[in-house]
Symmetry: C2
């Protein structure tokens, strides 16, 4: 294969004390980081020093689980709301993109279109929307519903929601606001467009009360891995957060999405695929492994068993079982692929209950020296398994500092990553085109 001429795109995942579920307990992590704006500001400044494309924040509109005994072992029960946090970070950063998650399941398209347009103006063109659908009942209960809308409907609603939002972003031509003091004309009414949307799930008249965003449309991010998710992503996503654990899977996903996009008439280069990756970095591989082991050792069994139950289902009762013994015999094939994969893994590698939950909790780490991490990035990038990475720092603030100080320079030396921001907007830095206004007359 020929060497790629483009460069890596990198997202920095924001997560309270760190991405590792027990990070807050580790001496390297700040335990009371969750609602400390100065903490997030410092991370943002470090990420910008490292020339990251964007900050990214996940979300759930509920407590992150209703098993309070397990939740109380994590730093996830309190967190900033994404749009307020990203707006505050917009004011103290200059170049870095701001990717906020918002669900289409329990929001209104007018609010979402407006808030992201507002953030795009506040930040000078650095906003991105990570479009998600809601999957946990805890969210439904906060919005007057007993349970979630089913999977198919959820994606239909998401797609219509998306279309309305994009339509609202086109409410104004880019040059609609003339602001002519002499004539008294502030805008040209001929360049104002009323959407008048009436669909299956929404009736939204418009127009939006915000001028067209600097980026035209804020960047659209998606993470769907299911067939419905991939279909939507291939049609609308400009950045995709993937969760591939091995190179072959990542290559297959990459090719599938790019091919689907091409089939829909899109330029495959206009979708950037960024798998998540958690780097544990130290001076030697042994030290890095020891660091990882330290974090793993801090996972409370109550939390570990909850992670197992969330994956395997509540019908497997592990109480009374020896954590260092095997899983009780469990039939596979009942609940779909992730459960089965985990059960197969346990069987194949003969893992104890504890080893299995540690494997789940550990996520998808890359453990080694800065050079090892850079090698990994380069190998996946050149193998066309990705266009970059969404980096999950295991602990904050140190985890991103070591990455920026040690890994980024290696990527830069190899020509794999920018030394300075080239674009003014997130869209420009990502190499994505600015969309035309659907309503504008040429």
């Amino acid at each position: 294969m020929t060497r790629r001429t483009d460069q890596l795109k990198l997202g920095a995942f924001l997560a309270n004390s760190g991405h590792h579920v027990a990070a807050w307990r580790h001496p390297l992590a700040q335990a009371d980081a969750s609602l400390d704006f100065a903490h997030f500001r410092a991370i943002a400044e470090t990420a910008e020093r490292g020339k990251f494309d964007a900050l990214f924040i996940a979300d759930v509109v509920a407590l992150w689980g209703h098993h309070h005994d397990a939740l109380s072992r994590t730093a996830r029960a309190e967190h900033f709301e994404p749009l307020t946090l990203m707006s505050a970070l917009a004011a103290v950063t200059t170049h870095i993109g701001l990717i906020a998650t918002a669900t289409t399941s329990y929001n209104e398209p007018y609010h979402i279109a407006r808030k992201f347009a507002s953030l795009d103006h506040l930040s000078g063109g650095r906003a991105a929307w990570n479009l998600v659908t809601s999957v946990v009942s805890d969210e439904a209960w906060n919005f007057g519903r007993e349970q979630h809308i089913d999977h198919g409907d959820r994606y239909q609603r998401a797609e219509e929601f998306h279309d309305v939002v994009k339509g609202l972003w086109d409410s104004w031509d880019d040059d609609a606001f003339v602001r002519d003091k002499a004539s008294g004309q502030y805008f040209d009414p001929a360049k104002l467009h009323t959407l008048n949307h009436r669909g299956e799930h929404f009736a939204v008249r418009g127009p939006l009360n915000v001028a067209r965003p600097p980026q035209g449309h804020p960047v659209l991010v998606q993470a769907g891995a299911s067939p419905a998710g991939r279909t939507l992503a291939a049609r609308v996503a400009e950045v995709i957060f993937a969760s591939a654990s091995d190179l072959a899977d990542a290559q297959a996903f990459y090719q599938d999405i790019k091919a689907r996009a091409a089939d829909l008439g899109r330029d495959p280069d206009h979708i950037k695929i960024l798998p998540g990756i958690t780097p544990f970095i130290a001076e030697s591989r042994e030290q890095a492994q020891a660091l990882f082991d330290e974090f793993q050792a801090l996972i409370d069994p109550v939390l570990g068993l909850r992670l197992l139950a969330d994956t395997l289902g509540e019908d497997i009762d592990l109480s009374g079982h020896d954590l260092d013994g095997p899983l009780p015999e469990t039939p596979v094939g009942q609940r779909g692929s992730r459960r089965d994969k985990v059960l197969e893994l346990a069987q194949k590698e003969n893992l104890s209950i504890r080893q299995l939950y540690l494997r789940l909790a550990g996520g998808n780490p890359v453990i080694g020296t800065a050079a090892d991490i850079a090698d990994h990035f380069e190998a996946w990038f050149e193998a066309r398994a990705c266009d970059g990475f969404n980096v999950f720092f295991p602990y904050f603030p140190g985890g991103i500092e070591v990455f920026v100080d040690q890994v980024i320079p290696l990527l830069q030396e190899r020509g794999l990553f920018r030394r300075e921001y080239q674009g003014r907007t997130l869209r420009e830095n990502l190499g994505l085109p600015r969309p035309a206004n659907r309503f504008s007359r040429p």
Copy 2:
């Protein structure tokens, strides 16, 4: 009456190029201010230099009117969404309160509770929610409804909405988060409270995924002047934005609200009543009047006639009438008090059509020297017509600069206004108590 021992509370109203409807056309105003964050940041910094209690931003979740020809003569068709703007301003200010407007008619209480809690944490206890109900159909049309819910229902919904939001803010005891690295306990589950609200309009389980706000509850602001509005305000408001045009009216409103609050068992001092006021300030009264006249002369007749139609109703056709002649004969008493008051005013003062719309557009100005403005503030305050003012600066950025440089020092010299911020939070600066958590055990 004895002289008051407390001090004025001052809010600074944020409005694009200025509060005057034609401000953007005036040489003193910045025309392209509406979506310029640097502009709002400069205003916020000036307000903080002037020791204002809070910044305030109004809102409508739609274009500010659907008569595009008139709207295109104003700077109101594009504006930041309040929560994103206030979050960004939180990051670049230290002391000043941040009052964002959000409607209860087209929002969900979980989102609102969460965003204001998030803003309160971002700002270190400076958030306030201006609770409004929606009154223009343009908003209904953006949320899948043909028209607004009627007045009574709107306030019932608002009251229940409010109660749910406050309940969610009490989801956590103030000391729920222990973050004990050694034991692995991040929070104490006994200090987490699930609301389980089931009411007429909402079913919201909770708990909130944000720790209790620094202020306990963000400050609650309201502006209802109707009987239903006053009833709600007396029960829940901590700051009231009033719109009184003469001293006697203001005193009557002030006494009415404070008496209603006392009847409900509240301490009347815990509601701060701030009428809106628009100061036109110059070196002499003549120059101030000339300045006001300059702004008035910039009001386009298309806009002026729209203001009249919005007030008098669409059934009065003014097309073809001489702007400098009288209103056509119009029967009073059909549409309620504001219309009738305006018609009576026109008759009593024998105003032309142009004079009448200029009167409406000019709002409630106080025109004079800095000393005149300070006298006016002092007179109203000492007459117990208010606890302070929500200041509508006619133009930005100069309008607030002259106020801070010339009026604030006079108020300070007279002992009517603080020289330094005393409190850490908005609540403390306003002299409002921190509410106890309804769920906490002592």
